[in-house]
């Protein structure tokens, strides 16, 4: 089928979500730091929900070991994750604006990378990197809300994954249990549950300002 034009896509989302809700989603800019299991899946959900401006950041290329849980396909192995993610997001919305940063995020560059975002999803995997990103955003980027994923390894215990508001501008999704302590390692269903919590928190923050 030929690509729909942007007005057709807008009309579909507006009628499904209600015009007010879709307007809040459509005009937002969302950042995603880390495009692993949480970030790649959350990006796809947000694009489907109508987010049309995304800033994505990741240093890595897609690896064969990522396919078990991350939103990539075998033919993308070896491609930079920012490019692989953009490619998939364009299949959902060809008009989406994606700002790509294939770099290591540091306290020095984080404010510039995520400037103008309403909400940033913290989707790193190493605890000290998560803390660095969150501290930098909350210290230096006043007005940006942060949604973080913390604890999603293993299987079962779906209902242990929760979304909580912990600080004025910080929301945490997960079960709080380190991957080292979880039987089974990181698996797609539970990682997706957590990514779903994160994307859902973003949408809720945009539409009603809270979770």
């Amino acid at each position: 089928m030929p690509l729909p034009n942007m007005d057709d896509l807008d009309a579909v989302l507006s009628s499904r979500h209600s015009p007010d809700a879709y307007e809040a989603i459509r005009k937002a800019k969302i950042g995603i730091a880390g495009l692993g299991g949480l970030g790649s899946n959350a990006a796809a959900m947000l694009a489907r929900a109508g987010i049309s401006r995304l800033t994505i950041a990741d240093l890595d290329v897609v690896d064969l070991g990522n396919i078990n849980r991350q939103h990539y396909y075998l033919e993308q192995v070896g491609i930079a994750k920012v490019n692989a993610t953009e490619e998939l997001l364009r299949k959902i919305n060809p008009y989406i604006k994606v700002e790509k940063h294939c770099m290591r995020l540091t306290p020095g560059n984080i404010p510039d990378v995520f400037m103008g975002c309403n909400v940033v999803c913290e989707a790193f995997d190493v605890p000290s990197e998560k803390a660095m990103l969150i501290n930098t955003l909350l210290e230096k980027c006043s007005g940006i809300k942060v949604v973080s994923g913390s604890g999603m390894a293993g299987f079962g215990r779906s209902n242990d994954i929760r979304t909580e508001k912990l600080f004025a501008d910080l929301y945490i999704c997960g079960d709080g249990i380190d991957m080292e302590g979880a039987e089974g390692g990181l698996m797609s269903p539970r990682v997706n549950i957590c990514a779903g919590h994160m994307a859902n928190a973003v949408i809720s923050l945009l539409i009603k300002g809270d979770i």
Partner: protein
């Protein structure tokens, strides 16, 4: 003072750093909010906590 919603009696002066370490967290894996405001990490050793302070500590775990 209040730490993560619970009352903590402290009889000795304590810094944010002392509280974080004493509660079993690693300094490079946390974020701390003091009375509703984020505490810059460089301030952890310098800020002395008071009786009427309210502190939230969040520790981050691996996986993503």
């Amino acid at each position: 003072m209040k730490v993560n919603g619970k009352i903590l009696e402290s009889y000795m002066p304590m810094t944010v750093e002392g509280l974080v370490l004493g509660a079993g967290y690693m300094l490079d894996r946390v974020a701390v909010e003091l009375n509703g405001r984020i505490v810059p990490r460089s301030e952890y050793p310098r800020i002395l906590l008071k009786d009427d302070d309210s502190v939230e500590i969040v520790g981050f775990v691996g996986g993503g």
